[in-house]
């Protein structure tokens, strides 16, 4: 049995020319938040007993999870940084108990910021003994200076409706130098293999 996560990254300059593209590689990067979120949905209880957690949300606050009204939602829209694929500048190693990017890049056109496009999804279906879907996000650097992108993650929603909170499901290290006016595209493939 395998449920696997793959990542592919490409960087382009302001004219759209390809500067760097990685081959799709397998990640080893689901972190604890994801498994807590799956467990909460399996339980399907609004008040689990004993409590389910705590697990830190992306802001570092301890949360006891419950069934969620919009579980796993990571369809961040344009400019949204609570959910969806995110990028950052830290190359600290991945650890299973991490709860957020180590140095997340904010939304905007200020120094060190990038513009977050809306996350997209594509269900590619079954091919042989594999079933996959793809989710992708583009980040544009209009900060006026190059940005060294060194990490990426998937943020998703938990603990709703009482209070929406967000957890990091996976984190990976990448190495993309994005020039001013350029863009980096991060593509995750979630694949199960029978």
């Amino acid at each position: 049995m395998k449920s696997q996560l793959y990542i592919k990254v490409e960087t382009r300059d302001r004219g759209g020319s390809l500067l760097h593209r990685t081959r799709m590689r397998r990640c080893r990067s689901f972190v604890q938040g994801y498994n807590w979120a799956v467990c909460a949905q399996f339980l399907g209880s609004s008040s689990p007993s004993p409590v389910l957690g705590p697990v830190k949300d992306t802001g570092g606050t301890n949360r006891n999870l419950r069934t969620c009204g919009i579980p796993f939602r990571s369809n961040g829209g344009a400019g949204v940084t609570d959910t969806g694929i995110r990028v950052g500048t830290s190359d600290d190693s991945v650890a299973i108990n991490q709860h957020s990017l180590q140095a997340p890049i904010g939304q905007g056109i200020g120094a060190g910021q990038m513009e977050h496009f809306a996350q997209t999804f594509s269900f590619t279906g079954v091919a042989g003994n594999q079933c996959s879907f793809v989710t992708q996000r583009v980040f544009v650097n209009n900060s006026g200076a190059p940005i060294a992108v060194r990490e990426t993650a998937i943020y998703m929603t938990v603990f709703y409706p009482t209070t929406a909170a967000y957890i990091m499901a996976a984190r990976d290290l990448i190495s993309e130098d994005v020039p001013d006016g350029g863009a980096v595209t991060v593509t995750y493939t979630i694949r199960i293999v029978a």
């Binding site: 449920s3 799956v38 949905q41 399907g44 796993f72 199960i192 029978a194």
Partner: protein, 95 residues
Amino acid sequence: MNLYYEVIVKDRYGKLLAHLKQPARSWLKQWNQLIYGGMSGVAQSVLDTNGINRTQSVTYDLLKFSASPVMPAWAWLRVPEPTWSPSTTTAFRAR
């Protein structure tokens, strides 16, 4: 992400006949459809365990596993189905 399962079989007196713990094979398409629906917010048409296409909920009870008379019975994964007896248990262990 790996999935494991554990099976314990006892006779009427409580004597342990088999105790298996091993990796499961495997998640099926429906699992990925549910995760896709949850992440994207776009519902998928998912076959339930009766072979009926269901438009999944992408809100509450997306993956609810705890017993409930109203829970949808999704087919998530497949595990080996040996015929349980002491002899077949031995053979199963030996694989």
